[in-house]
């Protein structure tokens, strides 16, 4: 660990120290919950029969046989969020991908999701922050059926990712992978949109002109094109090791998107307790994972609400939240976390083109150069090997290669 930045190390250690004994208790819970058999094996015959009553014949057989994993999907699909609209077809894609490898998948819960863009300036916006907590609770309701060996979380936007994450962490013994749907292709550039909004505010243009501009900005499925909270969430999830590397910014209509969804489904079955590479989310999300995410966020100039959830994530997995707050502020002020990205300001067209797919690895890789494997579970940054077919995951702590002056 000699090459890791001293401030990063110190803050991580401080969080680790102050998180005792809560963290220890939480990890013990996960250990106690581990089973070599599929989770559904504990259920009575009556419970289980209810659980697969509506499944097809093949799935019923697999669920009865107790040899393969059953993966939960918790989906935040609705027609209100452009970023979630693609999820309409994901559950079936995922079920097919799981079936092809002898496993099963079931939607454990549909969770609510609010579009902050639709409620902006309206009374509904007062519910937005609380929706996150409700999503966590709904996720827990879904997982409480105890039928599942892993979770695929389908959610992208501001409140949904933290809500899903908190819910998943309350079932910390299950591996979880987030499945993104990708960004909206570029529309009207940000500067132009802001210019027109200001013109309207000064009364210089009519409402129709404003609506045209807004429609040109938010024009199809995918995350809104600026580097706001939804896209910041994506970067953080990859940095935390909860989302396939490089999967964040492939557009919804790109053929790669379906392949990535399949890959996520396959990957989660590899990291359940049934196999030899068990990676429960409660162990993956530790103080290092959280520091990774904060560094990635700060280095890329990400969105402010994205800072909010960390306190709660931490409480959820027994990591001291105040310390994370401290961590984020110290790192925010620390000279070493250099602002490497002018994503918002300089990039007029956010999400088109191959080069933008490389945003996450491009941001994270310079930090990896000096990293050594810190052990531990779960996917951290992705160490890429040319030409290989299998994704190899290795945990690494985010760090700058440069010392604080």
């Amino acid at each position: 660990m000699a090459d890791l930045n001293a401030t990063v190390l110190a803050v991580t250690q401080a969080i680790r120290d102050r998180s005792q004994p809560l963290r220890g208790l939480y990890l013990q819970q996960i250990k106690d919950a581990k089973r070599d058999q599929p989770r559904r094996e504990q259920l009575s015959c009556g419970n289980l029969a209810h659980g697969f009553a509506a499944c097809g014949t093949e799935d019923k057989q697999r669920l009865k046989l107790m040899q393969s994993s059953n993966i939960a999907m918790v989906t935040a699909y609705n027609d209100m969020l452009s970023a979630h609209q693609p999820y309409e077809t994901y559950p079936n894609q995922i079920k097919q991908a799981l079936s092809a490898i002898g496993c099963t998948g079931q939607i454990a819960a549909g969770v609510p999701a609010m579009c902050d863009g639709v409620t902006q300036g309206r009374p509904g916006m007062e519910l937005s922050l609380m929706s996150r907590d409700l999503i966590a609770q709904c996720t827990a309701l879904g997982l409480s059926h105890e039928m599942f060996d892993g979770l695929l979380a389908l959610g992208v936007c501001d409140k949904i990712v933290p809500g899903l994450l908190m819910g998943a962490l309350s079932f910390g013994h299950l591996p979880t992978i987030f499945v993104p749907a990708g960004p909206m292709p570029s529309g009207l550039p940000n500067k132009e949109k802001q210019r027109i909004r200001q013109q309207f505010a000064r009364g210089e243009i009519p409402r129709e002109a404003l609506l045209e501009a807004e429609s040109a900005s938010y024009h199809s499925a995918g995350t809104c094109t600026f580097y706001g909270t939804a896209n910041s969430n994506q970067v953080m999830l990859e940095a935390m090791g909860l989302q396939l590397p490089g999967s964040s910014f492939i557009n919804p209509e790109d053929p790669l998107r379906q392949l990535l969804t399949q890959a996520a489904a396959e990957q989660v079955t590899r990291i359940t307790a049934l196999g030899s590479d068990y990676r429960p989310i409660g162990a993956v999300v530790d103080e290092r994972s959280i520091v990774n995410a904060v560094v990635a966020l700060l280095a890329s100039g990400g969105s402010t609400p994205a800072h909010h959830p960390f306190d709660r994530h931490c409480a959820r997995c027994g990591t001291h939240p105040e310390l994370v707050g401290f961590c984020r502020f110290v790192l925010g002020g620390a000279a070493f976390v250099q602002h490497l990205s002018q994503w918002r300001r300089r990039c007029e067209s956010f999400s088109c083109g191959r080069r933008h797919r490389l945003f996450v690895p491009g941001t994270l890789n310079p930090r990896l150069d000096a990293c050594r494997c810190a052990g531990g579970l779960g996917c951290g940054f992705f160490r890429l090997y040319p030409g290989t077919l299998r994704a190899r995951w290795r945990f690494a702590l985010a760090a700058s290669t440069h010392r604080v002056a």
């Binding site: 009374p123 002020g333 300001r345 890429l384």
Partner: protein
């Protein structure tokens, strides 16, 4: 589908750069402390000559009020707009994007403006310096509740300080903040009244799921 090596050098250094020549030596987020409490400011899009703003407070209790002030020309001055009663317990801490076009327009006209709020701004914080998530919120007895129009406020993001320049004795003699009597019983908000009352402070995450540690 195959994973392959990502480029080690940026393909466009106007967008993404390595650590040897960063856009800014610091990350884009700062903690502000001072007599008003603790808040956060996103500095990455704020011009360097706008990191220190000192000006008289213009106090509003709801973002809709800014519309009228702007239209009447009452904001044509250097000022620090204070929007309070927007914290978690007050009204669920909504995002306040209605403020941005007005403040942006004032800034473009050459005025030195800033925003202070116990509420949220989200990804649209942008080019106007904004101290947000101020804790304690007005409803929790935060000093933001006692600011009056004309009080001088200093927002210094380089030093990490947010201060209201009023004598503490004078401040303590002022009445407590009274929340508006506006009842939020429409649009489903009434179903969340008990949850809202349970929300912990912004610094602890503004959640009803856990207590602040």
């Amino acid at each position: 589908m195959r994973w392959q090596q990502a480029p080690t050098a940026s393909l466009d250094d106007q967008v993404l750069r390595a650590g040897d020549k960063p856009f800014s030596a610091e990350g884009g987020l700062k903690l502000l402390t001072g007599n008003l409490g603790r808040s956060v400011i996103k500095t990455s899009a704020v011009a360097l000559d706008r990191r220190l703003i000192t000006g008289p407070a213009v106090v509003i209790e709801h973002q809709d009020e800014l519309d009228a002030l702007f239209a009447a020309g009452d904001l044509n001055q250097d000022c620090v707009v204070v929007v309070r009663g927007q914290g978690p317990k007050a009204n669920g801490m909504p995002e306040l994007h209605k403020l941005t076009p007005f403040l942006g327009a004032l800034q473009d006209q050459g005025y030195r403006v800033a925003l202070v709020t116990d509420g949220r701004m989200s990804g649209a914080s942008g080019k106007v310096p904004a101290a947000i998530h101020l804790t304690p919120e007005a409803l929790d007895g935060g000093l933001i509740g006692r600011i009056q129009n004309g009080d001088v406020i200093c927002l210094d993001s380089d030093a990490g300080e947010l201060t209201v320049l009023v004598d503490p004795d004078q401040m303590s003699e002022r009445p407590d903040w009274q929340p508006s009597t506006r009842v939020a019983n429409s649009c489903g908000r009434q179903l969340f009244n008990l949850n809202r009352a349970q929300l912990n402070c912004a610094e602890a995450g503004a959640t009803y799921l856990f207590e602040a540690v």
